[in-house]
Subunit: 425 residues, 2 copies
């Protein structure tokens, strides 16, 4: 099998290195010799992390996607402009395509998959979600007997690193973000990771696979972690919870919820114990029940592991033209996140005036929202008190009503913090 690579950076170099290490064993198992014959790079003269002595290098990426001998193109350059054109060309030229590019799939996957179907080639993207964890294959193959009810994932390692450090070392967000940047976990502009866009792209892909729908990236409700404080994390700990940044997709009636936001999870749940840069996806199927898949969400060889697994999948199913099992798609509309039911964590800063608790609980009562737990703390130098409340399961609209009522009150001293509380198991 002859392979061409677009991009020999971290992931591309990792693929070449892993193939060098394990290619013989893969050949022994599959009977097929995988040869990388051509790679497009930005600058031929640059130093590489991999041995390129048997690979022809070119600075023209179209040479790869148009090369007559190449069976499979690995798209490992990223971006959604030129890259889209390259992938389209490869598909039209009858080449299978494997990509690690979540943005490309989240934004243009529907059309690219159609085109791959039409051209009877495969478009695979295991590496685009949760790095080395074989979550797409698990959903498509291992869990193929199930109707998937929901999934919830820690699918952004940078965000999980930040939240873990904030909890374990009582450090604040900005401080840890700077460290993440210096360690290379976070970009100079961290928006993509900490505001949840990266996670939303991955969630859109996971949901499409899990529910057999079109990709609906533009409909993912997305909220980042930049407003989570160490106070929130410590209150959560005190109440037996950990705050994680989750991507959640849930089947509700004929619709689906698609949302990325911080969430309190009970420490009893396994996913609350997934720390540092590690990723994990929890899946609920109607037959299997709850299962969880955990591993490295990034890293050159971890990502290469998924890219090469896709290559081996093509070897084993060369003639199959089913892409992702999508013979036909389900129509599931995305439910407005402003109207879903959830438990909530609320943190208020209020004047420590007489009867303030009675007034607050009165507002909750007015909206028919029960308080599961309440802690009052820290009367500060301004005679203000922190009040932390966990509600029962209520509609988001009622919480918004409570927020507006409290923020309009005479005792309110700051914006209310609101975080979802989820039971995943």
């Amino acid at each position: 099998m002859k392979v061409g690579i677009l991009g020999l950076g971290t992931v591309g170099g990792g693929v070449v290195n892993v193939l060098k290490k394990n290619g013989a064993s893969i050949e022994r198992r599959t009977g097929v010799n995988i040869q990388v014959i051509l790679a497009a790079v930005r600058d031929i003269k640059q130093d590489r992390i991999c041995d390129t002595s048997n690979i022809k290098l070119t600075e023209d990426p179209f040479e790869v996607v148009n090369h007559p001998e190449i069976d499979v193109v690995l798209e490992l350059i990223g971006g959604t402009g030129l890259t889209k054109k390259l992938v389209e060309t490869a598909i039209k030229n009858g080449k299978h395509v494997i990509t690690a590019n979540k943005a490309l799939i989240a934004k243009h996957g529907n059309k690219l998959i159609q085109s791959a179907n039409k051209n009877k080639v495969r478009l695979l993207f295991e590496a685009s979600v949760a790095g080395g964890i074989p979550i797409i294959k698990s959903l498509e193959q291992g869990l193929s007997a199930n109707k998937i009810e929901s999934l919830a994932g820690i699918i952004n390692g940078t965000g999980n690193f930040i939240l873990t450090e904030m909890k374990e070392k009582n450090r604040d967000f900005d401080d840890v973000l700077k460290e993440a940047q210096s360690l290379g976990y976070a970009e100079a502009d961290p928006t993509f990771d900490v505001e949840g866009i990266d996670a939303a792209q991955k969630l859109a892909i996971l949901a499409a696979i899990a529910f057999g729908t079109e990709l609906q990236f533009d409909k993912v409700f997305t909220k980042g972690i930049s407003n989570i404080t160490t106070e929130d994390i410590n209150y959560a700990t005190e109440l037996g919870y950990t705050i994680k940044h989750l991507g959640i997709a849930k089947r509700v009636g004929n619709g689906i919820e698609l949302r990325v936001h911080p969430t309190l999870i009970s420490n009893e749940e396994l996913i609350a114990n997934v720390n540092g840069v590690m990723n994990a996806v929890l899946v609920k199927g109607d037959a299997l029940g709850t299962s969880l898949y955990y591993g490295a969400g990034a890293g050159e060889e971890a990502t290469a592991s998924s890219v090469i697994a896709d290559l081996i999948d093509i070897i084993n199913n060369q003639t199959s033209n089913h892409i992702l099992g999508w013979k036909s798609q389900e129509k599931l509309t995305v439910i407005d996140t402003e109207s879903i039911d959830s438990e909530f964590y609320l943190r208020l800063l209020v004047s420590n005036m007489k009867g303030v608790l009675a007034k607050i609980t009165g507002i909750f009562h007015q909206y028919n929202v029960s308080i599961e737990e309440l802690i009052q703390k820290q009367i500060d130098e301004n005679n203000n008190a922190h009040i932390v409340i966990i509600t029962n399961k209520v509609n988001t609209k009622d919480i918004m009503g409570i927020k507006a009522a409290i923020e309009a009150s005479e005792f309110n001293q700051d914006n209310m913090q609101i975080i979802h509380v989820e039971s995943l198991d």
Copy 2:
């Protein structure tokens, strides 16, 4: 696709129920209609957990394996006598076989796989290990780019339920075992579960898949959990560990370790937090690093989930005659567990005589074994003391030497408890 089932008990009934529920969706995805046309049962008149109105029932299992229209036989009766003959016959008749029978595969898998290869049919057994967790598919497909370095699994739900209850509720082994029996988690004769035989069969299967070797069930070192006391569990907790019953397979040089035994694991490790009847398998690959797969290890629909996933695998790879990717097998000899390197937990009961600690540490020094942690406790009415020690990584032979020396000493009051301590991440 026409399917025949041997056995309509828990798993067989579960398969029929899940196919009824999700068959239409599977057909929509795969383009293939799965029809169960015939099932062999012990007693046709018995009540069933599934609807059998479209299934012909027979009391002659050979009718199923000889039926000319049947493409795939699901072997869900268990046992290794008549069952082996039935599976052999089905294979010789050119039928694919799916089984949930770990004992059959562990004992006769090598020959059965040979026969399936020869007859160009597939023999699949995802459900034989860790119930609904797609661990075999993950090893074969998702992790196919990796050289697997090690795996460690909680692969017996009964044992994990017992250890979890002992820890969380401070109950002793016999007490929890009785409850497990009354809940139906443990058999009247619990040996198979609590002495590790069940786990050893599953480990042999996992190791063969992970390392691409023959099945080597008879070479698995196997030790049960019946001698674990609440004292051990509480000391482990005090030291930051949880005791789990693990199946461990590890590549060391040109050999492999294959062992099932109780193990102390740091509470920081995710697998230490897998509780109750749940199963989990941690896998280390040379490219991916550490990954973990968690889910229900038993239950009618969870197990059915794996059986039907194998069916769908056959639909998608009908013409493929590669069984488990084993084009050729690696020769890896099993390393004698009595000579491996490990950390150890030791619990001693000794007379509280003058200088006893100096004598004990002297014996450790004599064998060049360093003590990482030591706690001395509970001087009882007989003036005896409990001493608990965690060693550094040492050879098992040295620990056996220390055990013999201490047990021969004048201060020793009871057999020494010895438990492995593993770092898995």
